[in-house]
């Protein structure tokens, strides 16, 4: 039932708005709304009950194991939420004067510094509101850098075929052409292809390392050398930073710019699709171009730097200073982990992934890169299973839901057929991993004996499998009352 179906004309949650309806005498008629808004009219209890029950229809980390590759679905500490929701933080207006800003600004300044430290970059801007906006900021800085040097011939961004879709989409938004290069048999960047691709038209390359194939590109220094020699810059997509936190720093690998997904590596909540935070870090040469505002520490005071302080900045990406509430959660998380906790993230994310990969292989599943060490994630390809039984990666994914386990990422990266990209994260216990292996093995057995059953899955969720084609063909994207 939709909230609108609980609605009755003139029903109200009367404690929640001013008790009387103030007059707007002075407001000319021509500005006044005469049509209905269609908003629901329900009691407070009805709203609470409706949305509490809706919430119960979701999978979430707090209720299920979520081995979703490339998404880093780790535990989101409740303490980080509680501290970010302190009234002093929630109530502060973004234009509050400095005297009412030192608490938040000092915190954000320290966050900038800690993120510089873990990424090996020289400067960080916290303002991008998600990974994709961080990517935009990064590529825009690359563009600004070349422009500032008068180097206008660079029109291309190189992107490996395994990259996240946001990478090419971002390059386009920044006015670049996208040049895709292939991956070699070991899952690394195809160096020969890269050599052919780079040149005076190369603005830069966007890479993830470890890549979305779950392997660490061992020749990263060589790649950096090739691109830099050609005058291009290296962009690091931080989606997989969890794999290497405290182990190797993108700055040390030779990257010029990085975005971090604080909602992955630093465990701010995914929230059903955001808000994220996509802080960007840069090397020395890109420092002048960082998006504003930045937080500066001047003597005893902290203050925001804006366009006037930073004339070469690529500018402003949001009205204020980004998703501050998310930044606070990341700060709290980093302080609770501390120096040694950073590399433990990579340690145990990697231990979990390698253990799970070995156990799945032992259970008969095919790893996409069995010759490689898994990083924090790895790929199983169900190509053989799909051919033999007709049961596809999607079928496995849906059937896993019946075992109380969220599906891994399916059909990404695009170059591995029938793939499941599996990332257990460091916060899951061995029992959860063993349970996943058991579920996968059980589905495998079912696939042999009763493939139709798997095709019909899930059975235990509020809905069976959806007709997505119909949804796209006849879009029903808002409720309208029956006439």
């Amino acid at each position: 039932m939709l909230i609108f179906e609980h609605s009755k004309p003139q029903r109200r949650a009367a404690a929640q708005a001013p008790l009387t309806h103030a007059s707007m005498n002075g407001l000319p008629e021509r500005f006044r709304r005469t049509s209905a808004t269609g908003l629901p009219e329900v009691s407070e209890l009805q709203a609470v009950r409706h949305y509490t029950r809706l919430s119960q229809k979701n999978f979430s980390i707090d209720t299920q194991f979520y081995p979703l590759g490339s998404c880093t679905m780790k535990y989101n500490p409740r303490g980080a939420n509680a501290m970010a929701m302190l009234p002093g933080f929630l109530g502060r207006h973004p234009y509050a004067p400095e005297a009412f800003s030192q608490g938040i600004l000092s915190t954000l300044f320290e966050l900038q510094q800690m993120l510089e430290d873990v990424t090996g970059m020289r400067g960080v801007s916290l303002t991008p509101m998600a990974g994709a906006q961080g990517e935009f900021a990064g590529v825009a800085m690359i563009r600004a850098y070349h422009a500032a040097r008068g180097d206008t011939a660079r029109t291309e961004i190189i992107v490996p075929d395994a990259a996240h879709g946001t990478n090419p989409a971002t390059a386009t938004m920044c006015g670049y052409a996208v040049r895709e290069i292939p991956t070699d048999a070991d899952g690394d960047v195809d160096l020969a292809a890269l050599r052919l691709a780079v040149g005076p038209h190369t603005a830069g390359i966007m890479l993830t390392n470890p890549s979305t194939l779950g392997v660490f590109d061992r020749r990263i220094k060589e790649i950096a050398g090739l691109v830099h020699e050609a005058g291009g810059l290296l962009y690091y997509d931080g989606a997989n930073l969890n794999a290497i936190l405290g182990k190797v720093r993108p700055g040390d690998m030779g990257f010029d710019v990085i975005h971090m997904n604080l909602h992955k590596t630093f465990s701010t909540p995914h929230g059903g699709g955001g808000p994220g935070a996509g802080a960007v870090g840069v090397s020395q040469r890109l420092l002048p171009f960082l998006p504003v505002p930045l937080v500066a520490h001047e003597g005893e005071r902290y203050r925001l730097l804006d366009e006037q302080d930073r004339p070469q900045s690529i500018g402003r990406l949001s009205a204020f200073m980004g998703n501050v509430g998310v930044l606070l959660r990341a700060y709290v998380y980093m302080r609770m982990l501390g120096r040694e906790g950073m590399s433990r993230v990579a340690d145990f994310a990697t231990l979990n992934a390698n253990y799970l990969a070995k156990r799945l292989a032992a259970a008969g599943f095919t790893l996409a890169y069995p010759q490689r060490r898994a990083t924090h994630e790895f790929i199983v390809t169900l190509k053989r299973e799909a051919r033999e039984t007709g049961v596809t990666a999607m079928d496995y994914a849906k059937r896993l839901l019946d075992f109380g386990i969220h599906a891994p990422t399916t059909y990404f990266p695009l170059l591995v057929p029938e793939c499941l990209l599996i990332e257990p994260t460091e916060t899951e216990a061995k029992e959860a991993l063993d349970g996943f292996v058991d579920a996968m093995a059980a589905i495998r057995a079912e696939a042999a004996s009763d493939p139709a059953k798997i095709k019909g899955a899930p059975y235990t969720q509020p809905n069976r499998r959806f007709d997505e084609v119909r949804a796209a063909r006849e879009p029903d994207v808002r409720w309208r009352p029956a006439v």
């Binding site: 103030a22 919430s55 929630l90 009412f100 006015g175 995914h270 606070l328 609770m336």
Partner: protein, 451 residues
């Protein structure tokens, strides 16, 4: 080891399965020369208790002021139920609802959100959110350029009465694609778009016209005339609106003869706390005919294998994970949790509740402006304003006056000196302000003017 469940026995057992002597060896693909040394800036770990005390010490000094600043972020009461429910683990720690069967909670909620936003804006389709109002304006400009095939100019008129940070953001995001944002001046007497300035573009190829309502100065624009101008000149009309005010103001879908093509804005007034500027959310509504050029996620109702209705992400072919370099935008993560809160907020407030909040904010701001007249404080503009007003103080420079008010714990408004009106302040008194609060403003300002 905070948040890591492994015991030494388990670590040993897992390494044995892997066939590795220790965890360190799992990183042998990383060239030794690249390995990090110890971190320098990250301090030693703190317990939750210790961080809690630290964060309280950080939050405390920023709290306690009586706030009359608006300027794009508005203090409104949020029912306690809203964030109680939004931060339930099942919403808070869920991923993007790609697996529809395991995400009906979030998906149905977004479908309801989309319905509410189309209701408020009077348009036909809403996406599941963008980052904030400013970046939503940028996305609207990009979308208008994609949509308006009759126009070749890639020139968009943006009134000077649009929030300055929105204009800056839109410029930063669209300029690399060769799009020009042309500032359309306001009539300084009334504080809204100067019709004469607009007329200057009668013969030009303009891709889109942006219209704010209320505008940055709180003034109500003559939206019907502007919308009709756009329609007459083959320009798309992009509305930038405060969604709360749509409970009582004519919605963009009903502006002029044809309505706006795209409406964007910031959802903050509908359930997001001020929180130093974020997270809020941007919204975007448009005509159904334009849906395939709309950026961002979209939820649709469909049926499952049993014919039972339910909800899925739909029209994903617009998005980056499918369409990559040809996507409508690179947006991926948006502002889901804030949308969750906002949907619950709108459901609880309802049409009457939101109208009361809007009306009380209107009334409080007008009452405050009246109370200030005896101090020699007058509105800068003659135009009708809604719940925010630019006031001229009887001094050359308002900044030190605001500072003195802040020292007494009253944040007197946004310094319009930042954008060229040194004697003026943009003041907002929402429904959260009582009679006593308004009087405190008056008394504090009186003292600040005297000293």
């Amino acid at each position: 080891m905070p948040f890591i469940p492994h015991t030494q026995d388990e670590i040993d057992a897992m390494l044995a399965v892997i066939g590795a002597p220790d965890i360190e060896s799992l990183f042998d693909d990383i060239p030794a020369a690249l390995r990090s040394g110890p971190l320098k800036t990250v301090p030693d770990a703190l317990s939750e208790m210790q961080v809690g005390r630290l964060m309280q010490s950080r939050a405390a000094p920023d709290a306690g002021a009586l706030n009359f600043i608006g300027a794009g972020a508005y203090e409104h009461h949020i029912p306690a139920a809203v964030w109680d429910i939004a931060t339930r683990g099942e919403f808070y720690s869920a991923y993007t609802p790609y697996q529809a069967e395991a995400s009906q909670g979030t998906l149905q909620l977004i479908y309801e959100f989309q319905t509410m936003l189309t209701g408020l804006t009077g348009l036909e389709v809403s996406n599941a959110s963008l980052y904030d109002g400013a970046s939503a304006l940028a996305e609207a400009v990009l979308m208008a350029v994609r949509l308006n095939r009759k126009s070749r100019s890639r020139r968009v008129l943006v009134p000077a009465s649009v929030h300055p940070a929105y204009r800056a953001t839109a410029h930063a995001i669209v300029h690399a694609q060769g799009i020009e944002l042309i500032e359309l001046p306001i009539d300084p007497a009334v504080g809204r778009v100067d019709p004469a300035a607009l007329a200057a573009y009668d013969a030009e190829d303009i891709t889109a016209l942006v219209v704010p309502q209320p505008n940055f100065y709180g003034v109500l624009e003559e939206v019907d005339a502007l919308t009709d101008w756009a329609a007459a000149h083959n320009a798309l009309l992009i509305a930038v609106v405060n969604p709360l005010t749509l409970a009582v103001l004519t919605p963009p879908g009903e502006w002029g003869a044809a309505g706006a093509d795209i409406a964007v804005g910031d959802g903050q007034p509908l359930g997001a706390p001020l929180s130093s500027g974020g997270p809020y959310y941007g919204f975007m509504c448009t005509r159904m005919a334009h849906v395939r050029q709309m950026p961002g996620r979209l939820v649709g109702r469909s049926i499952d294998a049993d014919g039972k209705p339910g909800f899925v992400l739909t029209l994903q072919a617009r998005e980056q994970h499918i369409r990559r370099s040809k996507a409508t935008s690179n947006i991926c993560t948006n502002q889901g949790l804030v949308v969750t809160a906002s949907t619950i907020h709108m459901a609880i407030l309802g049409p009457d509740g939101l109208a009361r909040v809007a009306a009380a904010s209107y009334a409080n701001t007008h009452a405050l402006a009246e109370k200030l007249r005896p101090l020699g404080v007058e509105p800068v503009f003659a135009g009708d304003y809604f719940h925010e007003v630019a006031l001229r103080l009887p001094v050359a420079n308002a900044a030190p006056v605001l500072e003195r008010m802040a020292a007494e714990g009253v944040l007197g408004g946004y310094e319009l000196g930042r954008i060229g009106w040194p004697d003026a302040v943009l003041v907002c008194a929402t429904e959260t302000k009582t009679e006593e609060d308004l009087q405190r403003y008056v008394d504090t300002l009186a003292r600040a003017l005297r000293s």
